[in-house]
Symmetry: C2
Subunit: 337 residues, 2 copies
């Protein structure tokens, strides 16, 4: 009888009920005219703003493991990573759509826990649920579509970097990848919580930092690092028709306890190629560099290099030796050895 009760409509009702309190709050209610339950959702756009649109896959086996990732982290992260794209434009989230495909065995406890994490992210980042689609499937498939807004002419694009700009990064790179490794090594579904597994399981999109950079007009270009610096920096450079010189010594990497780092730990490799950090990568013209603080609300902001007119990405070692930085980050279509 379990399947009989769990029709697509009743699952939609369950989801809608869990999110009612988020949609009912005043800020959300002003803009979200119609939520879950009709053919589509209706949103009141703000005057003099553009609508930001982004969507992200979050698939069992590809992006998370059912036996390793707690369901509430799956819910949190599915929304957080899509919100990171809004942060990377300097925008403000407005609402999201959830497309969810589930095995019948996951429509009870798993779904409840998943919705808890999703709702926590929805509240924390003020992004109510506006609608979605559910279906049955052997594996858990998630797609989250986030709608945001940004003042007209103020979006921070990938294409704005100019030669001479300083290249900044927020936070520390490689932490989420190391967190994933700890998680995979651990026995059982829930690992001991620490800062690194926490960053992998419950990443925080840097919405406030993005909005601060939009507000101050300090940055010329911005994107988020989701696939690793070595994959994402070339995208920013290609969009801006520039290159970059990155100094290895300046890259904020995972800090392992000295003098004995854990076996297999290579902080530089993690920082260059580790995915899932959702840190912001942005460029600042030379005359404004001094206006960027060392940290923003506890998140370090570090200049790691400079934008060049030569369309090549060069990594400068601590010994001054140069080498090209080749993409080694997350790419689902690249064959891995």
């Amino acid at each position: 009888m379990k399947i009989g009760r769990s029709t697509a409509d009743s699952i939609l009702r369950k989801i809608a009920a869990r999110f009612k309190s988020v949609a009912d709050n005043k800020t959300a209610a002003r803009s979200l005219i119609l939520g879950v339950g009709d053919d589509a959702a209706l949103l009141q756009p703000r005057a003099r703003h553009l609508t930001i649109l982004t969507c992200d896959w979050f698939l069992e086996g590809t992006h998370f493991l059912r036996d390793k990732h707690p369901p509430d982290s799956v819910g949190w992260k599915a929304l957080a990573r899509a919100l990171s794209d809004v942060a990377a434009m300097g925008g403000v989230p407005r609402c999201f759509l959830l497309s969810l495909a589930l095995p019948s065995s996951c429509t009870g406890h798993w779904l409840d826990r998943f919705l808890l994490g999703l709702r926590r992210a929805s509240r924390e980042f003020r992004c109510p649920l506006a609608g979605g689609d559910t279906t049955r499937r052997n594996e858990i498939l998630i797609n989250v579509m986030v709608v945001g807004e940004i003042r007209r002419g103020r979006a921070l694009l990938r294409s704005g970097a100019r030669p001479g700009d300083f290249l900044f990064v927020s936070g520390r790179l490689g932490e989420a990848e190391w967190g994933l490794r700890l998680l995979r090594r651990g026995k059982g579904p829930v690992p001991p919580r620490n800062a690194l597994t926490g960053k992998h399981l419950y990443p925080r999109p840097h919405l406030e930092l993005g909005q601060w950079l939009e507000n101050t007009r300090l940055a010329t270009a911005m994107m988020d690092i989701s696939d690793g610096l070595s994959s994402d920096l070339p995208r920013l450079c290609a969009a801006s028709s520039v290159g970059a010189r990155v100094e290895v010594a300046r890259i904020p990497a995972v800090q392992f306890p000295a003098p004995h780092p854990p076996a297999g730990a290579d902080a530089l490799r993690l920082a260059l190629h580790g995915g899932d950090d959702y840190e912001l990568l942005f460029t600042i013209p030379p005359h404004r560099k001094s206006l960027v603080p060392d940290s923003f609300r506890g998140v370090p902001l570090t200049p790691i290099g400079i934008i060049t007119s030569k369309k090549r990405i060069v990594l400068v070692g601590e010994n001054g030796r140069e080498r090209s930085l080749l993409p080694g980050g997350w790419d689902p279509f690249r064959m891995r050895s």
Copy 2:
């Protein structure tokens, strides 16, 4: 080396290149500020309009079969069915996001043909591609998110039906389901084209009809029939807190050649429970019924019953006998015998 060339970025570039001509046309360029290639897309919303948001799964094995459905039909239908939700509000499409997960073996010919069908629908219904996400997966997974617009206060919701309103349906019900049966029976991937397999493979969202009903303010409620009348009518009635009486003799069903309909053909069952028709179901107050034409641009518009205050859905047979209409349409979570 095939996989090596087909990285996620090159697939995104391929998709973006195919859609450039659609995004470049004047109407689209006015509103779509930034398309594929940045962290997110930017859309200029129209003044005095609300934004319509909807998303739809389209999954191999669940919604289509790789060996039966031509790739161009998969592309066409993935967009067409999401557009049907915009039609059902009376809205105008603005752009769409494509989330695509593909096996490496499908990144060549299959993807080319898929994009052909998708682009044909994108052009036909003036809905350019704004962005998306791609990843690798053993099965083909598609999620399409459509953004539309509607004048403030003019959206046709499910909740507006009132007792005494006439219940109308566009087109003929059950045709797409019958088309699917023909397709499954046929040998080889591409069946002989006829009107019924055509309706299943290349459904046309009734955007113009929806906009006409919005423009004339004739309808009180509207939705599209995607899961079958017996599943969708209860949703409209529940949203409006009403019931309905439907006359069997009036339901526009598949017309089989007399006097020998094909074996297994039950036009009424198909009309009540067949999915994928994407016809519009709408309600018209009694004093405006005469203003609804018999057909709109070749699509018949048929009154099939009346809205009642009693919250029950009653089917009135040709002999005058009444019975309750129970949901028998498409529901992925309902166990089938």
